[in-house]
């Protein structure tokens, strides 16, 4: 038996990373993750027992991020960079992060979620459960998303090699 606080501490960073990758805005990502945990809390106090807690958390986060993007009715302008480089972070790392985030923002929300979960080491089953993509289509969608991501990175003149 674990406490709500344990679950919060265990999952916050990963969910925040996913939300940040999807919405590309630190404040919105924090708000979304807080909303997810509030929704979880309400479920638990209502007596719902969650069999697949992690899947539920990721799925709700992806849904909320997608809703957020739909509400914005546009993807973030490419020129906008919200994170100013700090002194202790190397400039090339900041530049790399900026390009990666721009490339991600040019993909569909489902493709973004898929790539982030894949990079986190999720299995195809977990990806399918979290994103709603059919299990049999994960491989195909993943291969296509990886190609699109690489093309976007190349378009943004980022040398990966």
């Amino acid at each position: 038996m674990r406490t709500f606080e344990d679950i919060y501490a265990e999952n916050y960073a990963r969910l925040h990373r996913l939300a940040l990758r999807m919405v590309d805005d630190r404040e919105s990502a924090s708000d979304i993750v807080q909303e997810v945990f509030t929704a979880l809390y309400e479920k638990l106090t209502a007596g719902t027992v969650l069999l697949y807690l992690n899947t539920w958390l990721y799925r709700v986060t992806i849904n909320k991020c997608t809703d957020h993007l739909n509400r914005q009715k546009r993807y973030r302008p490419l020129e906008e960079v919200k994170d100013a480089p700090t002194e202790e972070i190397l400039p090339e790392r900041v530049e790399r992060e900026r390009v990666v985030q721009q490339a991600l923002s040019r993909l569909k929300p489902t493709e973004r979620a898929l790539l982030v979960l894949y990079s986190e080491g999720f299995s195809y089953k977990e990806i399918s459960d979290s994103t709603g993509i059919r299990f049999s289509s994960v491989g195909k969608t993943l291969a296509r998303s990886l190609v699109k991501m690489e093309e976007q990175l190349k378009t943004l003149s980022y040398e990966m090699y």
């Binding site: 038996m1 674990r2 406490t3 709500f4 606080e5 679950i7 919060y8 501490a9 916050y12 960073a13 925040h16 990373r17 940040l20 990758r21 630190r26 807080q34 945990f37 509030t38 809390y41 479920k43 638990l44 719902t48 027992v49 969650l50 069999l51 697949y52 807690l53 899947t55 539920w56 799925r59 849904n63 997608t66 809703d67 739909n70 994170d83 972070i89 900041v94 790399r96 992060e97 990666v100 991600l104 929300p109 489902t110 790539l115 894949y118 990079s119 299995s123 195809y124 459960d129 709603g132 994960v138 491989g139 195909k140 993943l142 291969a143 990886l146 190609v147 991501m149 690489e150 990175l153």
Partner: protein
């Protein structure tokens, strides 16, 4: 020999291929340099994207305190047996509208086309129409003699004066 689909290669790469798929891929790779090259390409792409996404600046996001309205000491039973109340991934509004409009257009075309086809079946067809007109330039139009020969699809000739 037919080369392997990209999604199967991706699944093989990620260790998600079924036993049959795995055997098939391995047998094919022994004799196909192109697919061996494609596999290497897929592997490189996957590793690069994984590395770029996981080496995030926000990997160590600080954990904010729990919202004050949530009780962190709430016990959570995650090993229950109830089914997961899974939220559905919503399609974007634009996509839903596009699908709806496309369906409406297809239905509209079907209903518009059907009466035209039915009407065409019973309609008399004129295969040839010839007018014999003797023009008397000194008489008014109402006094001109006109003979019209109509040949229908079965070859019957009708003269109209």
């Amino acid at each position: 020999m037919k080369c392997i689909d990209t999604d199967i290669l991706q699944k093989y790469l990620d260790g998600e291929a079924s036993t049959d798929e795995k055997t098939g891929v391995e047998a094919h790779l022994k004799s196909c340099d192109l697919c061996t090259f494609r596999l290497t390409q897929l592997q490189g792409r996957a590793e690069r994207v994984k590395w770029l996404l996981s080496s995030s600046l926000d990997a160590e996001a600080a954990l904010p305190p729990l919202p004050s309205n949530l009780n962190g000491k709430l016990s959570v039973n995650v090993s229950g047996v109830e089914a997961l109340d899974e939220p559905r991934v919503k399609r974007p509004l634009l996509k839903r509208w596009t699908i709806g409009l496309s369906a409406a257009c297809i239905l509209g075309l079907v209903f518009l086309y059907k009466p035209l086809v039915c009407r065409g079946e019973n309609q008399e067809m004129v295969r040839m129409q010839r007018e014999i007109v003797e023009v008397d330039a000194n008489s008014p139009y109402s006094q001109q003699e006109t003979v019209m020969t109509i040949v229908d699809e079965s070859g019957n000739v009708t003269y109209m004066e």
